[in-house]
Amino acid sequence: MNELEKLAKTLTNLDKTLHEKTRLAISTILFHRRKVDFNTLRRLLETSEGNLATHLRKLEQAGYIEVEKRFVGRKPKTLYQLTEKGRKAYRDYLTNLRKIIITEDRE
């Protein structure tokens, strides 16, 4: 397999769930910070509630994140964290991205 074919394979192997920018950003934050609440994600990603909720749902459906609901005082708080599957998928995504960069740099 030549370099170009390898690159093509890596590109098709990129996780489609994580490749979407908002979901990639959410996963990056959750990878570096164990538990993050909804409002903090909104603050960090400067996005609308609806958009954020949609992407969080997709990540949850993929089994990449888990949700924890708790009360802080009387206020409900929703916290998100990566599952083991999500953590692995994120690492794999970064590995593939790195491969693409290295291949492109060589050409």
Binding site: K21, R33, K35, T40, R87
Partner: protein, 217 residues
């Protein structure tokens, strides 16, 4: 898949990495508190050793300062987490925590077990004046914690922690040659002042930073 698409993702990862790193500086206040506690405690012990005041005065100040840092740590953490909206518990923090556990807990426990073994204790008690024994023990901790700090610096790619570690290990060599009694000053000046200054620098930088997010849409 367009090259632009990949570049956009890399740019996004870099921007987010920058924000996460900047916000993590809020935790510098905890390093500063520990640095101050070690500085006060170790310098007090040094004064006690040099002036030949009963050791329990120095020991009491040391315990009080370390206990204050120990008690204030979870309170500060809670306050930072409330303000940031998350806890610093990602893969990097986990690795740093594990490396410190390996170095300080396993290394430190083994060191103390060796130190307190009857043959070693006998040799030390027979050859060292009592005023130098605490400094002699601390010299070992300078090396152990120095290695811990270097490992933290390597993992977190922070030159400052690596330099503090190198200074700690280096100071142990100097102490071994000029007198064990000065190990307290060495600990106060390397670990104490080092963590106090880097902690304050990080916290000030966090306070000054503009907390903006990354627009991903």
């Amino acid at each position: 898949m367009a090259k632009k698409e990949i570049e956009e993702r890399i740019e996004l990862l870099e921007k987010l990495g920058g924000i996460i790193r900047e916000e993590a500086r809020a935790y510098g206040i905890i390093d500063a508190v520990w640095g101050l506690a070690v500085f006060i405690g170790a310098i007090s012990f040094q004064v006690v050793e040099i002036l030949s005041i009963p050791w329990y005065y120095g020991f009491t100040i040391l315990i009080i300062s370390l206990l204050s840092a120990f008690i204030s740590t979870p309170l500060l953490k809670k306050r930072i987490e409330k303000s940031l909206g998350y806890s610093k518990g990602g893969w990097l923090s986990e690795r740093i925590k594990m490396s410190w556990l390996a170095v300080a807990l396993i290394g430190g426990t083994s060191y103390m077990l060796v130190f307190w073994s009857p043959p070693v204790t006998k040799v030390i008690l027979n050859n060292l004046p009592s005023a130098e024994i605490s400094g002699f023990i601390l010299m070992g901790w300078l090396i152990i914690d120095g290695i811990g700090s270097m490992v933290q610096g390597i993992i977190s790619e922070s030159k400052v922690y690596t330099i503090i570690g190198v200074l700690m290990v280096g100071s142990a060599v100097i102490v071994a040659n000029i007198g064990f009694i000065y190990a307290w000053s060495a600990f106060a000046l390397t670990y104490g002042l080092g963590y106090l200054s880097i902690g304050l620098k990080d916290y000030t930088s966090f306070k000054r930073s503009v907390r903006a997010g990354v627009k991903v849409e």
